[in-house]
């Protein structure tokens, strides 16, 4: 186990390093540099002297070679200094501290929701293959897979404004927006978050359900299941005890794909539902080419994904001794 | 019959052992570890041993599907004189590709499922510039007939054929270049017993008509006895005994040969079997035991065997790698009526 962890950590560091290069690449991509976009973002009436522009360039190290710039940026990031948001005139670190917790508070429960819902349905679908329930879930699964989650968000907003007169979106309903914390306010917040979780989790649930069904069907056709049945084990105990256990671990190991998808979903759905996660912040940053902010968000989300995947892998190895170290 | 068409000298193939980016270099797997033998013109030399003893690797080194780590494979070309195939670069090797070909074990994996028989058998000719266009078609048709299939089959895909037929296709492909030497890597072990006989007969017919020399890799001694003139027994990358088939079956000189032979079932209820069951596992080719590699499993092992690695040496005109070859009286198998066709 020890050597496995060491190897995985080394691999992870390499992956994070590559991610940081991708993020830096994103910073570099737009034509011109921050100073150009900064200058153009300042009201047209104000004149900026060439000297001031030069001074700004020097201040941000933009006159240095690319490699040096990357090096400077990554050293700063490693010290927790993500740079400055041009548009908002605040440090990126502050902004992240404000927005990131909610992103996680939605993503992590959503991921758990996806597996908690998809695995039982997948088991049911496989065991009762070709039953009405199986067809129903398969149908719902395909639809769920085909509806992008931001569209689902729009549909929800439409339905609630049209037929329930309610107000969807935001973390709080209007009446709680500025109210002091109370039990009712917490309930209101959890109601809004639950909606978000369902919207974001649908497509992931649909996909995972299909995988679980397929894996378990493969397993159910194995000879050892027949043997166990022949020995007179009760059907449910037999299924839960062996094939499900075998089928579930490859399903759980898809977390490396699910987690980034969940974060993606959270970010885009948050802009639809107007939730104060990093999503709307990123979108704004991107639109105004506030690249330090944009790249930092990409970097931090990706690193969190890598760490999340790593933790789930460790749990999986711990739970399933067959996985080779 | 006695001049050698192929001389293998101290052939070695080690896998791995390169130093990775981090940590120590792992020990290399010595799959083939110093092999010497001559392949005589027109003979069938059997190569037997347990799975993982390196016989397939040896075969692949000879046809240069693998690049050997060391040693020589000297091919005696009638026109161009002897040449060391192992030392040639890929480019220099090209003309000699015609001379040495291979037949594979797996009748499914050895044929490209996306090609018709015409493409499969014709490709070697096209690659080597032996024929083009209609000539390819004619030759492929001839080859198909020669291996017992029909001309019309050439537009079909391999999936339309049974295992035995696929093996015939593989043989036709090997023959496409008119080689002198064919390395047969367990050509019948994946087939049903009844089909095995047909393929073996086909190989023997081809050899008789076509001046072919076979290196016949097998683990089924029954098959080996049926088709081979001589047999080389391999154990973890080395030859431990090399003798005429009849001699070896009558009286093996190496304890490992004896053990292998005793595992051959005798289809005679009168004969009482004395299986010398092998103890333990095949030695690990990464971490070989000191002394004779076979000693941990040998029932005749003495002190010397544990420390001193025996050489392959001549005993009564046969070659054997055992310190006690002269003193041991090992048991062979009762000879059936010879059926060599």
């Amino acid at each position: 186990m020890g050597s496995y962890i060491v190897r995985r950590v080394l691999q992870m560091i390499l992956v994070v390093f590559i991610i940081s290069m991708v993020a830096f690449f994103v910073i570099q991509l737009p034509p011109g540099d921050f100073v150009t976009s900064y200058v153009s973002s300042i009201a047209a009436g104000d004149r900026i002297t060439q000297d001031a522009i030069l001074a700004l360039r020097q201040q941000f190290g933009l006159d240095e070679p690319l490699l040096m710039q990357y090096f400077r940026w990554i050293t700063n990031v490693l010290q927790g200094n993500f740079g400055l948001s041009f548009q908002l005139q605040r440090t990126v670190g502050d902004l992240l501290a404000e927005r990131l917790p909610l992103t996680l508070a939605i993503t992590i429960p959503t991921t758990i929701f996806v597996y908690a819902v998809a695995i039982p349905i997948g088991i049911y679908s496989a065991v009762k293959q070709y039953s009405v329930g199986d067809y129903l879930f398969t149908f719902v699964g395909f639809i769920g897979l085909a509806i992008p989650n931001f569209l689902l968000g729009i549909v929800l907003i439409y339905l609630s404004t049209r037929y329930f007169g309610g107000n969807v979106g935001g973390l709080f309903s209007p009446e709680f927006e500025n109210a002091p914390w109370s039990v009712a306010r917490v309930l209101d917040m959890s109601r809004n978050m639950a909606l978000a979780i369902i919207i974001i989790g649908t497509s992931g649930t649909a996909a995972t359900m299909r995988v679980m069904r397929g894996m378990l069907l493969d397993e159910l056709s194995q000879a050892y299941v027949e043997t166990a049945r022949a020995k007179g084990l009760s059907e449910w105990r037999l299924i839960m005890k062996y094939p499900v256990r075998v089928a579930v671990s490859p399903v759980l190991s898809t977390v490396g794909f699910t987690l980034p998808a969940m974060i993606s979903g959270t970010e885009i759905t948050a802009t639809v539902l107007n939730l104060p996660t990093t999503g709307p912040l990123l979108l704004n940053a991107v639109k105004s080419q506030d690249m330090f902010l944009a790249a930092s968000i990409i970097l931090i989300l990706s690193v969190l994904t890598v760490i999340g995947t790593f933790i789930s892998d460790l749990l999986l190895v711990w739970a399933d001794p067959r996985i080779r170290l | 019959m006695s001049d050698a068409i192929l001389k293998v000298r101290d052939l070695k193939k080690h896998f791995g052992g390169k130093k990775p980016l981090f940590g120590k270099a792992p020990r290399a797997v010595r799959a083939v570890d110093g092999i010497d033998f001559d392949l005589r013109r027109g003979e069938t030399l059997g190569l037997v041993g347990e799975s993982g003893c390196g016989k397939t690797t040896l075969g692949r080194c000879i046809v240069r599907a693998h690049d050997p780590t060391g040693g020589e494979v000297i091919y005696d070309d009638p026109d161009r004189g002897p040449v060391d195939l192992a030392a040639l670069s890929r480019k220099e090797l090209q003309p000699y590709r015609l001379e040495v070909q291979m037949i594979f074990q797996d009748p499914i994996g050895s044929l490209n499922p996306r090609m018709t028989l015409l493409e499969i058998i014709g490709e070697p000719m096209i690659v080597n510039g032996l024929a083009t266009g209609a000539e390819v078609k004619k030759r492929v048709g001839d080859l198909l007939v020669r291996v017992g299939l029909r001309r019309e089959h050439m537009n079909r895909y391999p999936h339309a054929f049974s295992g035995g037929q696929r093996q015939r296709i593989g043989i036709a492909r090997a023959l496409a270049l008119n080689p002198k030497v064919i390395v047969c890597d367990e050509p019948v072990s994946a087939l049903d017993v009844s089909v095995q006989a047909q393929i073996l007969n086909l190989l023997q017919d081809l050899q008789r008509d076509g001046d072919l020399t076979f290196l016949f890799i097998a683990h089924d001694l029954g098959v080996v006895e049926y088709v081979c003139n001589r047999v080389a027994v391999m154990y973890v990358g080395r030859i431990v005994e090399l003798a005429e088939t009849d001699d070896l079956f009558a009286r093996p000189l190496h304890p490992y040969s004896e053990a292998l032979l005793s595992a051959v079932p005798v289809p005679d209820p009168e004969v009482e079997g004395h299986p010398h069951l092998l103890q333990g596992d095949v030695a690990n080719a990464v971490n070989l035991p000191p002394g004779c590699h076979f000693h941990p499993r040998c029932v005749y092992c003495v002190a010397r065997c544990r420390t001193e690695d025996p050489e392959l040496r001549e005993v009564n005109g046969r070659k054997v790698r055992c310190h006690r070859a002269e003193e041991l009286d090992l048991e062979g198998v009762a000879q059936e009526e010879a059926v060599h066709g």
Partner: protein
């Protein structure tokens, strides 16, 4: 002692030389076998036909649309008209639509449309109308359907009174072609990178694998956003279109590369590849004739499953306002309207149309992908 029989009867030998499968299957190429197997998957087959039709419509958009995408009218925010065959007196008529009478809600100033039963616009087939270029080349003015008097808005109109049905048909042109071209681009990238990785192995492989892992770990939407931000706002529409294509494929090549690498790794150990090396086929030839054809079925499956992701990607980016932008018409651009809460609430046809189009196309691709996966390799197992 030997188990081999030498006295095989002649008939049996002959029998053995007979191909086991019936002649039809015997001469069928593997791709044809895959097709046969695919055909048995009914839903996938019909989804496939539907997609072919959708791409046909896409290529000849001008013919199917009654109008042109940027033609404005006086009917702003008109809801979809229903096609009727029963007239105001209950009589049977040829298909027609009613005209609208517009009033304004005095509180909100929103237009309110009511059916005007005195105005009946019969639908005609193959009518002459606005000129367009068929396949972008041939000027023509015949439309599949239309009205010679009045107007027809099967999917309503937008804030400029433009016909949504027309805009949906033209939107398909961009959205569907982005999906296809992007996937082709990522296919080429994936095949080359995955192929090199799988064939050369060693450190090249390790580095490629880490890069792929890194890209997979980056949540797609944020990365797409970041890359799309780099596309200058003032670029002409065509440049933007290609830039978005590249942005979308820069991420999706990883799945093709993984599949290609895995298959290449498995294939290069196959005996038929060894055989080709032994008879002297060069590396290029081996790749061309032996490796690539054998991964084609996997590639087909991967790309049918990747196209929906790309389509959703384009839609999402344009919806957020960082992908394609008006005056380009794509389903994502049309969905941008749904950024406004009033549109979601009061003019639902503006977003339900494009949303349904996206969902139906993605659904069809998923079904086809599912069927293709089942049919993928007739030789596996």
């Amino acid at each position: 002692m030997s188990e081999v029989r030498t006295d095989m009867p002649a008939e049996e030998l002959l029998d053995e030389a007979e191909p086991r499968a019936e002649s039809r299957a015997a001469i069928a190429s593997p791709l044809r076998l895959m097709w046969w197997k695919f055909k048995r998957h009914r839903v996938a087959l019909w989804s496939g036909y539907f997609l072919l039709f959708a791409y046909l419509v896409m290529a000849t958009a001008g013919f199917w649309a009654p109008s042109t995408p940027n033609e404005r009218s006086r009917q702003l925010y008109a809801p979809p008209q229903w096609v009727k065959i029963i007239g105001p007196e209950g009589e049977l008529r040829r298909p027609f639509v009613y005209g609208y009478e517009m009033t304004r809600d005095l509180n909100t100033l929103r237009p309110v449309y009511t059916r005007d039963e005195s105005q009946i616009y019969p639908i005609e087939l193959f009518v002459r109308g606005a000129e367009y270029k068929l396949l972008g080349l041939i000027p023509w003015d015949v439309h599949l359907f239309g009205v010679s008097e009045g107007y027809i808005y099967l999917a309503g109109t937008d804030s400029f009174g433009r016909d949504m049905f027309t805009r949906l048909v033209y939107g398909a042109r961009i959205t569907l072609s982005v999906g296809l071209v992007s996937v082709m681009l990522s296919l080429v990238l994936g095949l080359i990178i995955g192929g090199v990785s799988g064939l050369y192995g060693g450190w090249v492989d390790s580095v490629t694998q880490r890069v792929i892992e890194a890209i997979i770990a980056i949540p797609t939407i944020p990365l797409w956003l970041g890359l799309a931000a780099a596309v200058p706002r003032d670029w002409p529409a065509v440049y933007q279109y290609f830039a978005i294509l590249v942005v979308l494929s820069l991420i999706s090549w990883t799945s093709t590369a993984r599949v290609a690498r895995g298959r290449f790794l498995a294939l290069r150990e196959q005996d038929f590849v060894t055989a080709a090396r032994v008879y002297g086929a060069g590396t290029g030839r081996i790749i061309r004739k032996h490796l690539v054809p054998n991964i084609m079925s996997y590639v087909i499956v991967t790309i049918t499953l990747a196209i929906p992701t790309i389509i959703i990607g384009e839609t999402a980016l344009s919806f957020l306002g960082v992908g394609l932008r008006a005056p380009t018409v794509s389903w994502g651009v049309l969905l941008q309207e749904a950024q406004k809460i009033q549109v979601i609430q009061f003019y639902p046809w503006l977003w339900i149309g494009p949303a349904l189009c996206v969902i139906v196309i993605v659904l069809a691709f998923n079904f086809v992908g599912d069927g293709a996966r089942d049919a993928a390799d007739p030789f596996s197992k």
